[in-house]
Amino acid sequence: MKPLFRYFCIIFMTSAVLAVMASTAPEGPNILLIFSDDHGYEDCGVYGNPTIATPNIDGLAAEGMRFDNAFATQAICAPSRQSLYTGLYPIRHGGHRNHTEVVPETLSLPHYFEPLGYQVHLAGKTHFGPKSAFPFNSLSKSENIFSDSDSMISDYFGELKKVFGSANGPFFIVAATSLPHTRFGFNDGYPAADKYKAADIPLPPYLLDTPETRIERAGYYELVSKLDDDIGTLLTLLKDSPAADNTLVIYSSDHGAGFAFEKWTNYDAGLHVPLIVKWPKQIKPNSASDALVSLIDLLPTLMEVAGGKAPKNIDGKSFLPVLNGESADHRELVFASHTTLGIRNASDATPIRTVRSKRYKYIRNLNPDGHFTNNVTQKGQGGWFSWLDKAKTNTFAAQQVQRYQQRPAEEFYDLLTDPYELKNLAGQAEVQAEKVYLSQQLDLWMTQQNDLGLDAPVTPMNTAWWQVLLAGIVFVIQFFMSLFSGA
């Protein structure tokens, strides 16, 4: 198929679909989806963290519904975001390798919502492509897949205020901030904290307790609080606008933070995300749901909220019945994958596939012989180098270092008795029935997804020459800075 002809076909099909949808759609509420970057489920006051200050996120939960079992499809940026916008698992949308694009014909949020009468805006981080698959009305400064990696909601307060006050039909705004992602060229860990003392930070048990890890964790907390401040300002702007009473507000994140056993892995600290939905007069304030949901379910859910029909050919399923209190449950299982290719400082592929029920998780590591590396192991992010030191004298440290980089073929965890996935039960006789069941479900899902596992095709990285150059310059500068700081 010639590119021009294919492009024409897509436009034709899309417009046909949109025309049908538009003719039947009643007007829904405004939707404001606040989507953060690398914010783990636990690192939030309303999810039980006693130390971190997130009064605005907590306040949103007090006015809406908190989801305690919401999961990303992959614990890495682009694949997770592209899943959110398309309602498809990463293998199926195609951009399952980080920094790669979806299959060009893929439909996404703007395609689905414009026919429903919505003006669909994106403010902030994109990290998706190609543009044709994500035709947001972009408030962003740039439209390249790598662009706006540093953008924050605060960069768009002016534009957003205008949209809040506009009379051009309901809006759907995705406010995608890059907080609380690591700063400074994205691979040098977290900044120093003022507000939090490293000694006061609670460390989950999979993180080794070293001064270096504590300092970075405190810096991450600081960024989460900065994120929360921005959300506070944004919600005040909304509150003071005509849209205040008719806007459904969602808060969620693409995946967990940039420490070992979080982002880049299929452990819960990577996949388990905060999800809060406020919908004035529709959702009971201060409610909570333990229904199992995936971020791919947001698209169809919101389409139903908007008065449309959820598409049948996507992976996501609407959980509107949970939002309006008609149902307590949603999915029996959620799935996730990880390619590990394309992430910074990656080794050869060590792909992961996972299925999780409310209680159990089964992980299959497709290349158990592979040695996993990333920014953590190569750049020392999250205090990793201090872990290597500790591993010389401490058995637990040695175990953690080993199991982070070298994964067994199978892992199985009981999340109720072992929420931090410290004890792999894959070989234990008493869980074989559950393990076999989940393993079969995973096979089924991989078949449905046309997932070829180790042979799954990956689209090439779309790195521009100037990005390579920029990375080189940054590296040289850092190298010299490290010389000075060392002296």
């Binding site: 039980g48 006693p50 058995t395 109720l416 008795t417």
Partner: protein
């Protein structure tokens, strides 16, 4: 002389009560506080993989009991049962604030009368604020209440003094000194009472990181509360539940988040680490006995006053009749009678120890004893043994996290009732378990119609064991419900 008597001959001498005074064995009862049955290295699956080489030595060279239970899972009542061989109903020490009755005969009292020199060293904990000498002990060292892991103030045989150091080692020093300076013309009986692993657990410095590398998980049963009595769910956020303050290991509570397990992990690790010091103590005392040349003529018993729930059914602490609350370690080293490395499956009880020791030492019989000597049963798996036994606990207003408990174990079956205390109908759901197929007590069968007949049988059996133990009319406090308040700081 003492080394030339064959075990068989010796056993027969004992059983006829014809033990000459100079050959009579010494008795050393090492009694810990709140130690689980699996918190020993010789267990199939030791808690956190704990290594206790010295306690294990007792098992290798002695007899281990695979089914040892306490008839009341609470310090004072259980200690009184160990000493007197009677149920709490009989000895009357119904809570942690009642002293051991001065006139109630204990095995040390009886042995003292029959020519033994007796010593009590360490934790006594009956009669909270009183550390004065009790009848039956020639040498007396204890302290008020719970004592402290470091620098406890003891009444050392009449003289109150603060002894600097870690509890387990301090009492071991005193025990060894006493053994060294004893009257060698007389046999001795000593109770060595440890504070460990009672809360608030403070491990010795050298052991405080021993379990940092062991993954601690909640037991499955913490999440299988369907079909259980409601009070078990009400206990979850309290002082005795997994979401509560965990004896101070958790600052913000109740905490039902997944991060709550972090505090629980510290709690379990600290608990376990205190037992390593007790094991060191056992090693030192055994060496002392060896050095004195009297090890093989000493009956060394290792046990605990009750067990300790570490998350089972969402609980911590003890008091209930669940396995993790009542199942304690028991090993006995006495090579003249018990074969090295042997094990016993009979269900033996706290109240059985005193009658057993009376038989082994030829000190006669305790007139009140309700337990029975297992000297024969420990050597013969087919020996006649009791078919059922009573468990009792009385509601405490100071610790309002467990109702009154009356239960019975018969063979593989366990039935537990929670009487209100007014003699009227039960207000809590009962529990019924078949331990042969459900050792973790995850499936309460009380509502399953298929087991209605068994339920009726067990209800009758409870009345029978109450009657047979002279416990009727069955008086107990009124159950004022499960409460969220914390216990007073002074009695924690």
């Amino acid at each position: 002389m003492k080394n030339t008597i064959s075990p068989l001959l010796f056993a027969s001498l004992i059983s006829t009560g014809a033990v000459a005074v100079e050959q009579r064995p010494n008795v050393l009862l090492i009694l810990t506080d709140d130690q689980r049955w699996d918190a020993v290295g010789y267990h199939d699956k030791p808690l956190l993989g704990i290594d206790t080489p010295n306690i294990d030595r007792l098992a290798e060279e002695g007899v281990q009991f695979n089914n040892m239970f306490v008839t009341s899972s609470l310090c004072s009542p259980s200690r009184a049962s160990f000493l007197s061989g009677t149920y709490a109903h009989t000895h009357g020490v119904r809570d942690n604030f009642t002293d051991y009755p001065r006139e109630l005969e204990s095995f040390p009292m009886a042995m003292q009368k029959s020519g033994y020199q007796t010593a009590y060293i360490g934790k006594w904990h009956m009669g909270e604020a009183d550390d004065s000498r009790r009848p039956g002990y020639d040498y007396w060292v204890t302290h008020k209440g719970q004592g402290k892991y470091y620098d406890t103030t003891f009444n050392v045989d009449g003289e109150r003094q603060t002894v600097l150091g870690y509890y387990a080692h301090v009492v071991t020093d005193m025990a060894n000194d006493w053994i060294k300076n004893r009257d060698t013309d007389k046999p001795f009986a000593m109770v060595l009472g440890h504070k460990a692993p009672h809360g608030p657990f403070i491990p010795e410095e050298k052991y405080q990181n021993t379990y940092d590398n062991v993954a601690v998980t909640y037991p499955d049963s913490a999440f299988k509360l369907e079909g259980k009595p409601e009070w078990i769910k009400e206990r979850l956020p309290t002082w005795h539940g997994i979401y509560g303050p965990l004896y101070g290991f958790r600052e913000n509570f109740p905490d039902m988040s997944q991060a709550a397990i972090v505090d629980f992990q510290k709690f379990v690790r600290s608990y376990t680490a205190t037992i390593n010091s007790v094991d060191d103590s056992v090693g030192r005392v055994l060496k002392q006995l060896e050095d004195e040349g009297i090890l093989d003529n000493t009956i060394v018993i290792y046990s605990s006053d009750n067990s300790f729930l570490l998350g089972e059914h969402g609980m911590i602490d003890k008091r209930t009749m669940h396995e993790a609350s009542i199942r304690v370690p028991l090993v006995v080293r006495y090579p003249k009678v018990f074969k090295a490395g042997s094990s016993v499956d009979h269900q033996v009880l706290s109240i059985d120890l005193a009658p057993t020791l009376m038989e082994l030492t030829g000190a006669g019989q305790l007139s009140n004893a309700q337990g029975q000597s297992w000297v024969a049963a420990a050597q013969d798996k087919d020996a006649e043994w009791r078919e059922s036994w009573l468990y009792e606990y009385n509601y405490e207003e100071q610790f309002p996290y467990t109702p009154n408990v009356r239960g019975v174990r018969k063979g593989d079956w366990k039935y537990v009732a929670y009487p209100h205390g007014d003699g009227g109908a039960l207000r809590h759901k009962e529990e019924l378990y078949n331990l042969a197929i459900d050792p973790a007590e995850e499936f309460n069968l009380v509502d399953i119609s298929k087991h209605a007949e068994k339920l009726a049988e067990m209800r009758d059996e409870l009345q029978l064991v109450l009657k047979n133990s002279n416990s009727l009319p069955d008086r107990m406090p009124i159950d004022k419900g499960i409460k969220s308040e914390l216990p007073e700081a002074s009695i924690r």
